[in-house]
Subunit: 198 residues, 2 copies
């Protein structure tokens, strides 16, 4: 096999992942046969499975990257940026997320393998940010950080499911405003506009 540069390697992986996303979105996990993956990606099975050992690994890698990207966005820019991102994701992203959820539900082994893989570092970073925010009084202290984090996850997944059912037109600013009032500890930091409390 001819040598390729790191840049070429990255380009090919992106091409495989991009085509795989379209294919999983259109046909579902089971329906995304190797022949359909080849057609959508535009590479032979040999070239595709040179980068990923199996269809499942390809699928999990898509989910892992999405998960890591969104968790990092949360850690770096906060919940508002995350709500905006989830509101903006395209139809293929929504379809793959929900298809991923369906596999977690239908296949306990898959769920176990996923839990070993899902971005522990950035998850830890988010957790410690939420803990600091609670200690400083910016987040309410009468529920645990796990419960707050779970609530944020519920809201995000709710946006995904509603959009995935074709009910668009969610106003991310309104969602963020309501969630902030739900989780705020009432310290000044959490209320940048004091006039709104008049």
């Amino acid at each position: 096999m001819p040598k390729i540069t790191e840049e070429q390697r990255q380009e090919r992986i992106e091409r495989v992942l991009g085509g795989a996303r379209r294919c999983f979105a259109q046909y579902g996990y089971e329906g995304a046969t190797v022949a359909r993956l080849e057609e959508e990606i535009g590479l032979s099975r040999g070239a595709i499975f040179n980068w990923f050992p199996s269809k499942e690994e390809l699928f999990v890698e898509l989910a892992r990257r999405d998960n890591e990207r969104l968790m990092s966005l949360f850690a770096d820019e906060g919940f508002e940026a995350l709500v905006q991102a989830v509101t903006d994701e395209d139809a293929d992203w929504l379809a793959v997320y929900l298809e991923f959820g369906r596999r977690l539900r239908a296949d306990a082994d898959f769920r176990a393998r996923w839990q070993e893989r899902a971005a522990p570092d950035v998850r830890e970073r988010v957790h410690s940010q939420l803990t600091s925010a609670q200690v400083s009084g910016r987040l309410r202290g009468d529920v645990t950080v796990q419960q707050l984090s779970r609530f944020l996850g519920i809201v995000l997944d709710g946006i995904v499911l509603q959009r995935g059912m074709g009910f668009d037109g969610i106003d991310p600013n309104v969602v963020v405003r309501l969630v902030e009032d739900a989780i705020s500890g009432g310290e000044p930091d959490a209320q940048p506009d004091p006039s709104s409390s008049a």
Copy 2:
């Protein structure tokens, strides 16, 4: 065909719907073939389609009943009861709900037919209750009733999706408490325990 009583008629319809739910949950909409429906329901196709003209009508009737039951619960007993119900629904219910969502996403005709059918009466009742609650100050007035109602739907769908992905252990009381703080208008009615604000 021999005459049957109204009670027998209801029993048979329930039997068909119950078996159909198990079948749709296990195989998905497309995978729930007529042969599998017959096996799960324990009736011949002639008997099944005596009550419902098609597989789609059977599927829509399940979704319509679930929707009407939950909306009525909201209208009669409030959001807390609805969160508890969605937290308690079993795996077959979750699977059918998410499968229904998948069909709404994948099939625009199906979505259009659904929107004509989905319980307009109880929807109207919920809307006018929310409007009264807003007028009386129990719900915040700085966002519309549609936006508040949308937010409640996002939270419910988020619970469904998280449970559907196998992430159980949601505490419905915590969710209700956070949502109440998100949507409350700050009037005494909305805060039954004044000591908590101390």
